[in-house]
Structures are given as C-alpha cells and as structure tokens.
C-alpha cells in the first residue's frame, strides 16, 4: 500500500472543533452512562468546555466505568423479535463527543487518500452519488458478470 502521510493529532484539544461537534450534535440523543445529555453540553460556557477538553485530552484511554455500553434492540418491522431487530449501542456521551471530534478531522484526511469508488460518509460521496456512479458505469461500459455483496 502506498505510504500515506500521518495526520497531526493536535486537533484533539482544539476548542473550535469541540464547539462545532457540540453544536451539530442532536440535542435529543440519548445520554450514555455518564449521564450527560447533549442538551446540557450545548449550554456549557466556553471556559467549562475548555476544562472538559483538557480532561479528555490528558487521558491515555477512557476509564472502564465510562466504557459501559447500553445496547437496545430497535424493532425493524414494528414487532420486536430477535430476528426483526437492529441493536444500537449507546456509549458514554463524552466518549461519543470525543469520537465526533476525531471522526470529523480523520474523515477529511481519509477523503484525500481514498480511491474514487470508495463511497459513504465521505464528503460529496453519499449513497445517491454512489448509486449514480455505479449506474453510469453500467451504462457507459458493457461490463461483464458482477457479484454484489453485503457484509454482516
């Protein structure tokens, strides 16, 4: 694989990144085991957010008591059963927020180094564009047999 330059980790404690992540978070998202809600985080003054960033930035890893994940099965077809459910995991709010901060920057970095046909979650490469490009390939080229697969 060709060498890809490493992204600097300085953004982890960038106040603006945290503010953006808090501002764009859904206020009604379920709180994790730490009990913080995004609604509360949105109300915090900058000075407190700075303290929070400092605390998270100093951690080598999140403590075990924050890494308890509540798993809830969501029914797929109105009726809840083991087969017709999709489990969602609710992690601690602080961990999720840290993940959002890291995720935003890392996705921007990855977008520069991914191939044209790696789609999804990347800027300007949503599902709609992915389908469009795929159908365009089929229209332009007389492509041969294809296997389409979905992972689980």
């Amino acid at each position: 694989m060709p060498a890809i330059p490493e992204l600097s980790d300085a953004f982890e404690t960038n106040l603006q990144d945290w503010m953006d992540a808090i501002a764009t978070a859904k206020a009604t998202s379920s709180p994790g085991v730490d009990g913080f809600t995004f609604q509360e985080l949105k109300l915090l003054p900058k000075s407190l957010i700075s303290s929070l960033i400092k605390f998270v930035g100093q951690l080598d890893k999140f403590p075990a008591y924050l890494m308890l994940a509540r798993t809830i099965p969501l029914p797929k077809k109105q009726q809840l059963s083991a087969e017709n459910s999709r489990p969602i995991t609710i992690l601690a709010t602080l961990y999720r927020l840290w993940g959002r901060v890291c995720g935003q920057r890392c996705i921007r970095h990855l977008a520069q180094h991914m191939s044209d046909y790696a789609m999804g979650m990347l800027p300007k490469k949503g599902a709609h564009v992915a389908s469009y490009k795929m159908q365009l390939e089929l229209e332009i080229h007389t492509v041969g047999p294809l296997i389409s697969m979905s992972l689980a």
């Binding site: 694989m1 890809i4 490493e6 992204l7 980790d9 890893k61 999140f62 403590p63 075990a64 890494m67 308890l68 994940a69 509540r70 798993t71 809830i72 099965p73 969602i88 995991t89 609710i90 992690l91 961990y95 999720r96 993940g99 890291c102 995720g103 890392c106 996705i107 970095h109 990855l110 180094h113 991914m114 044209d116 046909y117 790696a118 789609m119 999804g120 990347l122 599902a127 709609h128 564009v129 992915a130 389908s131 469009y132 795929m134 159908q135 365009l136 390939e137 089929l138 229209e139 007389t142 492509v143 041969g144 047999p145 294809l146 296997i147 389409s148 697969m149 979905s150 992972l151 689980a152």
Partner: protein
C-alpha cells in the same frame, strides 16, 4: 471485526497513532449490557467489533473497504470495485471472468473477522449469459443456492438496472408512499404555505429519490402533480389545471416534471465534475447522441437526454445546451442558477401547450412563475389560495358547466343577458358595471391586446424578454427599461421580469405614465 487489524489499518491510512491507540485501549475495556423493556442484563465483555454508534466505526469501515479494494487491485487488476460501508460490489468483463477475486474477498473478510451475508448477495450481468457463467465459476466456492441472479435491484436506496429496460421498482413504492402522505395532507387544515413546505420537505424527496438514474414516465409525474395540487387545495377539483396551479404556488419547484429535470441536471453536473476527462466525454456523447426510441433509458446519461428532450432541449457533446435562440448554457461551466433559470423558462414555454387542455391558451406567452409567486406572496394565505384557484381554473363559469350538465343553460346568472363566460363577467356583465367603471382604460387595453389575460390572469414573460435580458441586462436603469417598453409596438406590453411589480402586475397605464414622466 477484529479490532487489532482495524487499529493497524487506521494507522496505515495515516490517522494519528496516539489517537488510534487511545480508541483501541478505550474500546478494549468496553462492556455491553442489554436494555430491553426496562430490564437490563449482566455486563458482557466485548472483546471484538466496533459498535455502530461510535464515530470510529465509520472510520473503521472506510479503511476496511478501501483496503479490500486495493487488495483486489493488487491480486486482480482487471476487477473494478465500488464500496459503500459494508455494501461491496466488484465486476469484470466477460473474458476476464475468474473465481480469484471472490476467493481473495472471502479470505480478506475472514482475516478481518467479518462474514458475508450470502442471502443479501446477488449476481448480475449486463448481458444475458454472463451471470450464469459466473455462477458456474463460483460454484465450488460459494453457497450458490443463496445467491440470486438479478436484472435490476434496489441498492443503496436507488433502483439499479443491470440488464434490459429500466424498471421503476422501488420508485413505484415511493410514489405510492408519497400519495399516502399527500392524502393525509389534503385533509389537513393547515395553511397553504405550510402545506407547500410539507410537500417540499416530506413528499418530493420521498417520491423522487433516485429519479436521475432512470427517466420516470410522464404519466406517473402527472398523477403525482395532480395529487400535490389537490393536497394543497384541500379537495379534488377536476377543472383545475395542476400545472398552472403549482407554477404560481411557490418560488420553490413544486411541479414533479420540472423537479426531476432540475435534479437530474444538478446531479449530472456534480458527478461529471468528479469524473476523469474520458468518462466525462463518454457521458456527454451518450447525452448528445439521438436514439430511435424515446422513453427508454439505461442509466443517468440517457435519462438526462430523455428529460431534456421533454423540454425540447438537447445537449451537445461538449455539454452545451441551447436554452433559447440567443442563450446557450454549459452543463459544467454555467452557474447552476442560470441553468435552472433556463430549464424553468423552457418548461413554462411548454406548460400551456402540452400540459393544458385549454386550447385558448395554447399560444399565450409563458407564465412568469417567479414574478407571479412574488405578487401572490403579498396576499394572506387564504386569499392566495383563492387567487390560485381562480388562476388555475378551479371555478367554472355557467358556460363551462353547460357543456357537461344538460340542466344548465349557460346564461349569466347575474344579469341574465349573455353567455356566462369569464370575458362577459370581466368586461360586459351589466351587474358589475359600477365596479368596472374606474378601470375602463385597463379593460379597453385588455380588449385590444390581451383578451387571454381574462382566461389566465397571470404575469407572462415579455414577448421580447430574451432580447431585453440579453442586451439590456438587469443593470439597465429602470427608466431606460420603461422607455424601451414605451417604444415597443404594443404600448401596454404585458409585464416582463425586469419591470417593477407596481407597473408589471397592475396593468395600470397611469402608473407607467407617471413613472415615465419622472
């Protein structure tokens, strides 16, 4: 998914090693507990996998799919791939058909600790025999009994066509779903602008998602348009023209015919900019090449050609679309706003001819939708709806009713003298003489030049609109524009886009005269 492998991959893709380690060490301590109907389970250690709600799981899936793609490129360069999170697709040409890419994929998936859902996997080919040949090649390696061979399928929410003519497939269901929503909206007592907003945000995206991949038939779009208009009005009105109604209802595009064309151009432009030059040329060539059959599409390029043809437009091999006699737009370089304006203008040119049964209106100038919406916005929602109904022909005069109901004579019920037509009510009916008296000058102008205005009381494009916008431009001072208008052979020309609403909408000669005398 094996976390340690993901950790290595994330680092290999240049993500900060310290943060990747922090994620890895944190997630290693994760314990899950089930929460079902307010009952919780014991803590369960979670030594593997990336939880779905975690932003790092997105990064993990991206690097894994990219790694798979690069691995296949290394082992089988003839294979091409597309990956969207955990939906992966690979293909090759008939003569390069081998089991190796599938075997490499299976090994990689196993190495990563993933599993392939074979029941969600399918084979397809653009030819008639390809998929069967592939099935033979793969037989010893995969559970073929679980694999379907498909000619079209719903993938990532869009209807994909692999072989044969495009089928609406999931779009049928979406249209049905949109109609259900519109039925609910029709019976809602919300004000008109709110209903229009709901249509824009909750109906159009549902009904017409993926409409750029294949051309949706005009019958489906017409039915949807009628349902939208009925929902906005709150009842089914047979005599109302939904095309005219939606053209004047909102500044946003509410008509599905126009919506799909604009969306198709927008997405084509967006994707073309990301393609390499060769692919771009092939795409444009497909759009530019005429075909024997209209209505049949194989993909986005032919769908775009079909949509443009519905407006009487064609795109050249270099992406130029001749919007009017004097104006040409380029699919790639012209600002989208200008492209949209050109398309809208072309649509309104067609509207009264091809989407109306009112023969009197066939040769009238196109409706100036934007000016009309701005004018109607000056009224409150209730009045606006009544005006829109009048414009779209939702109210029938006695003469119209007499054509389908034998008991009605068609005589004016107000004066009892003369046929009850729109013109009679506006200019002749003696019952309204006093109301009409202060406006006789306008009535005379209507009689001389604009009799159809009574049939369709809307703002039209100026007959010389193209010349005026091209050579006079929006920057030309108002007075000069009015003087130009004065020198026009039709002294009181119907309003154009570059005229102020005061002069344009009221048809009031004294206002024009006073402006000119300043």
């Amino acid at each position: 998914m094996r976390r340690q492998k993901v950790q290595q991959l994330l680092k290999a893709f240049g993500l900060p090693a310290r943060l990747v380690d922090k994620w890895f060490l944190s997630i290693a301590q994760m314990h899950r507990f089930w929460d079902i109907s307010k009952q919780t389970s014991k803590l369960i250690p979670s030594p593997d996998g990336c939880p779905e709600g975690d932003a790092w799981s997105v990064l993990a899936m991206l690097v894994v799919s990219e790694c798979w793609s690069r691995l296949l490129q290394f082992h089988a360069q003839y294979v091409r791939t597309v990956s969207y999170a955990d939906n992966w697709t690979m293909w090759s040409k008939d003569d390069e058909l081998q089991a190796r890419p599938t075997l490499v994929t299976c090994s990689f998936v196993e190495w990563m600790g993933l599993q392939i859902s074979w029941n969600k996997t399918w084979l397809w080919s653009t030819g008639t025999t390809g998929a069967k040949k592939l099935a033979e090649v793969l037989q010893p390696h995969v559970p073929l009994d679980l694999l379907e061979i498909k000619e079209n399928a719903t993938d990532l929410g869009c209807q994909m066509t692999y072989h044969g003519g495009a089928k609406l497939g999931v779009i049928h269901d979406r249209l049905a779903c949109a109609k259900k929503r519109l039925d609910i909206l029709k019976h809602a007592t919300w004000i008109f602008p709110l209903k229009a907003h709901v249509v824009l945000t909750n109906v159009m995206p549902v009904a017409l998602y993926g409409c750029e991949l294949l051309a949706i038939g005009q019958r489906h779009l017409s039915q949807l348009r009628t349902t939208i208009a009925d929902a906005l009005v709150g009842e089914t009105v047979q005599s109302m023209n939904p095309g005219v109604f939606l053209a004047c209802a909102d500044l946003h595009i509410l008509g599905p015919h126009l919506f799909v064309i604009v969306q198709s151009v927008k997405l084509a432009r967006k994707v073309l900019r990301t393609l390499d030059n060769d692919m771009r040329q092939v795409f444009l060539k497909l759009v530019a090449t005429p075909v024997k059959t209209t209505g049949l599409t194989q993909g986005p390029a032919s769908a775009l050609r079909e949509y443009l043809l519905r407006l009487g437009l064609t795109c050249s091999g270099s992406g130029d679309i001749q919007m009017t006699a004097l104006r040409s737009c380029n699919l790639l370089t012209t600002p989208f706003k200008d492209l949209q304006l050109g398309i809208q203008r072309a649509w309104y040119e067609q509207l009264l001819m091809f989407h109306s049964q009112r023969t009197k209106l066939y040769n009238t100038l196109p409706i100036h939708s934007d000016e009309m919406c701005r004018l109607l916005h000056k009224f409150n929602p209730k009045q606006r709806l009544l005006l829109l109904r009048e414009i779209a022909g939702a109210f029938q005069t006695g003469a119209q009713v007499s054509k389908w109901e034998a008991d009605t004579t068609g005589e004016c019920e107000y004066c009892g003298n003369g046929s009850d037509t729109r013109w009679h009510r506006a200019a002749e009916c003696s019952a309204f003489h006093d109301i009409r008296q202060p406006h006789m000058e306008v009535i005379d102008d209507l009689r001389d030049f604009h009799e159809t205005f009574v049939e369709l009381p809307v703002i039209h494009f100026h007959p010389h609109w193209e010349f005026m916008t091209r050579y006079c431009g929006p920057c030309l001072p108002l007075l000069s524009r009015l003087k130009l208008l004065k020198s026009s052979p039709k002294k009181l020309a119907l309003p154009c886009g570059s005229l102020p609403m005061a002069a344009a909408s009221t048809l009031n000669a004294p206002i024009l005269a006073s402006l000119l005398s300043q």
